[in-house]
Amino acid sequence: MGPNLAALSFTLCSECETSKARAGLMKLPHYEVKTPVFMPVGTQGTMKGLLPEQLEELDCEIILGNTYHLGNRPGIKTLKKAGGLHKFMGWHRALLTDSGGFQMVSLLKLAEITEEGVKFKSPYDGSEIMLTPEKSIEIQNCIGADIIMQLDDVVRTTFQDNDRIKLAAERTSRWLDRCLRAHKRPSDQNIFPIVQGLLNKELRIQSANEHMTKDVNGFAIGGLSGGEAKDDFWPIVSLSTDLLSKNKPRYLMGVGVAIDLVVCVALGVDMFDCVFPTRTARFGCALTNKGQLNLKQNQYATDLNPIDENCTCSTCRNYTRAYLHCIVSVETVACHLISVHNIAFQMRLMRTMRANIEKGTFPEFVKTFVDELYPNKDYPTWVINSLSSVGIKII
């Protein structure tokens, strides 16, 4: 539609005949990304996480960088000098950066939001810093990711004040205009607007309709996965995918637990990000189709099996549960090893969903998946309801 087709082209390859699930191909300047896709956080501050080669081997096609962390370390100057984050970290595939706003509001208690932007005190020298929509885009233009996010007005999901929620949704639209005006690299970077409005359907409709009038190549659904009830969560996701253009990718921010991924793919979401797989690794939790294994538990002390015998990740190839049990939550190595497996798990889940959408067997896959996860058939109500809303009956 817009003139920025060079920076992103999205092709729908297959659509599920029952649900809203779809498989697509998103061509970005650095890589062709197959959707639905999960984007692991690839640049956690000081890069203590996984190496780019490891992420490539894990089949990651697009990773997420935290603008706030990158701005502090290595810093914009260094990134500029290196010619962008891709070159700096040696990552050759697609990259998405957030606006930095969410990190500030969630990390820094002193953040204050005004019409101009997000004001906060630097945790380094105490000086006041203002992150405006223009500043956020300027930084993201330096980082050089394929997809960059608009600065949005973040209100806690469980927030109750309707006036504030309305203000946030409307301000987000105004900030979108400022972001688009400040954008210096439309030919190789795509700004995604963020649909806001929390759990208020009217505001969501308004926000989505407003953003769809803009010259953009994809959309994000924000303000969810912040502690709201699952029964409130899925109808908003479903409403958003109904509203948003069919021929552009839809990115649901902050969602990454396996069952949520399966449901939201069924509801028509194409892209996801979440710190969950790596965060839970820190507590010794490994992801499997049957749920999480807490490797701290004594039952694994002499268990010589890998985390998942069907997994081909380097952790499952080289390490037993018994060894991981010994070092879990004691050594940083354990955290890395479980992170590798957990990201491999996420990637495999997304690949499997995509393959099933293409084969026309997505509803059958969903049934198999929930039966393995809930062997006693104690499916959560929201899972039953959300899936049934798109024609997949699991009971």
């Binding site: 890069m47 490891q54 970290m89 080289n318």
Partner: protein
């Protein structure tokens, strides 16, 4: 497994006792060769500190020596017993060579109560007292390629003579037990065992400790010096005493966190192996990435960078020993150490200039490291 010293390369003109050698004949991996002098990689819980097997393989393609202190790995016992294939395999590092010891001597541990035939090991879950019997039992479970005999080595140079004397006696008693157990052990038939020299704070006690060890020179494959962590070169005096009593082909291990210039002095005194505690002291995450080694893996992974950088020191040291330019290399590193604290990036380019300065020296003997490998 055995240790070979390349005696042909020993300088006959008193240029120092630096020497090249190698560890070979490991039954689990017959092709593995560890060239010395070298530094081991420090492990914690069996894993190289901060590095997964996957990342390690990207930094070092060749097998490395793993330093395995029981103090941080004793919790692996139950799992190791279940698996039965030794600590390197269990920790996801098969193909690497393991060297087990009581504790990482750079860890600061409390002083205190000792029992007659036991030494304390300070784990994350507190103090455990180990007898020599129990230590060797653990060795049969850990199955390391090299064992440092249990020793009461935690005495500083300035300790009182009574404490030092007790430490020498206790170590001797425990060595006797280790030797008995080792001789009878089928599991450890392929492992080398080294005697641990203690008592460095007193010349007399040091001599006594060396003498005790020399009684077992037909069983032992080498010696280690423990109990020094203050970075003083005083300890290397031990090597003068060693040369009279200890076989020349003994593997010599120096524990402790030494600065690069001190390491080179130790190499000059004939020490072959160093524990890997030094790179761990430098934890800063970013500066080395920006100004240091150009290899991409290092830029992306600072901890790997520090290990790689430290490894390069030994790699260059070996080349200079082979080229008979070791004294120049040492001088160069000493100068760098004075200028650049805390950490140097060892670049070969800068050394090339030095080589030219004293080109004629280089011609005296072979400079082909490959001869050493095939020999």
């Amino acid at each position: 497994m055995h240790f070979i010293v390349n005696n042909d390369l020993l300088a006959p003109d008193g240029a120092g006792c630096e020497r090249l050698g190698c560890l070979t004949g490991i039954s689990k991996s017959p092709k593995t060769v560890i060239e010395t002098p070298t530094a081991a990689l420090m492990t914690q819980g069996g894993s190289v500190v901060h590095l997964t097997a996957d990342v390690l393989a990207r930094v070092f393609t060749e097998p490395k020596l793993l330093w395995v202190p029981l103090s941080n790995s004793i919790q692996l016992e139950a799992g190791l017993q279940a698996q039965g294939e030794g600590v390197a395999k269990f920790a996801g590092l098969p193909g690497h060579v393991s060297c087990a010891t009581l504790q990482n001597i750079t860890e600061i541990t409390p002083n205190g109560h000792y029992e007659l035939d036991k030494v304390p090991v300070w784990t994350k879950n507190g103090k455990k007292l180990l007898t020599a019997e129990r230590y060797m039992e653990l060795m049969e479970v850990f199955k390391p390629d090299i064992i440092l005999a249990i020793a009461d080595g935690r005495t500083s140079l300035d300790e009182g003579s009574k404490r030092i004397s007790k430490s020498v006696d206790r170590t001797q008693k425990m060595l006797n037990v280790c030797m008995e157990k080792y001789k009878c052990s089928e599991v450890l038939a392929d492992s080398l065992i080294l005697g641990v020299i203690v008592g460095c704070g007193s010349e007399k006690m040091l001599e006594k400790s060396i003498e005790n060890i020399s009684k077992y020179s037909d069983i032992l494959a080498g010696v280690a010096i423990s109990g020094l962590s203050d970075g003083s070169e005083r300890s290397f005096n031990a090597s003068d005493k060693l040369s009279d009593t200890i076989p020349k082909n003994f593997l010599k291990v120096l524990e402790g966190c030494w600065k690069p210039d001190v390491v080179l002095t130790a190499i000059e005194y004939g020490w072959d192996i160093f524990d890997g505690s030094l790179p761990l002291k430098y934890k800063d995450d970013f500066n080395p990435i920006l100004d240091g080694c150009e290899c991409l893996t290092c830029r992306k992974h600072t901890r790997a960078h520090n290990l790689h950088n430290f490894d390069q020191l030994f790699c260059y040291a070996r080349r200079h020993i082979a080229a008979n330019t070791f004294d120049l290399f040492k001088k160069y590193i000493q100068e760098q150490c004075q200028k650049l604290d805390p950490f140097i990036v060892y670049k070969e380019e800068s050394i090339k200039d030095l080589k030219q300065v004293d080109e004629h020296k280089k011609k005296i003997r072979t400079n082909d490291i490959d001869n050493i490998n095939s020999g």
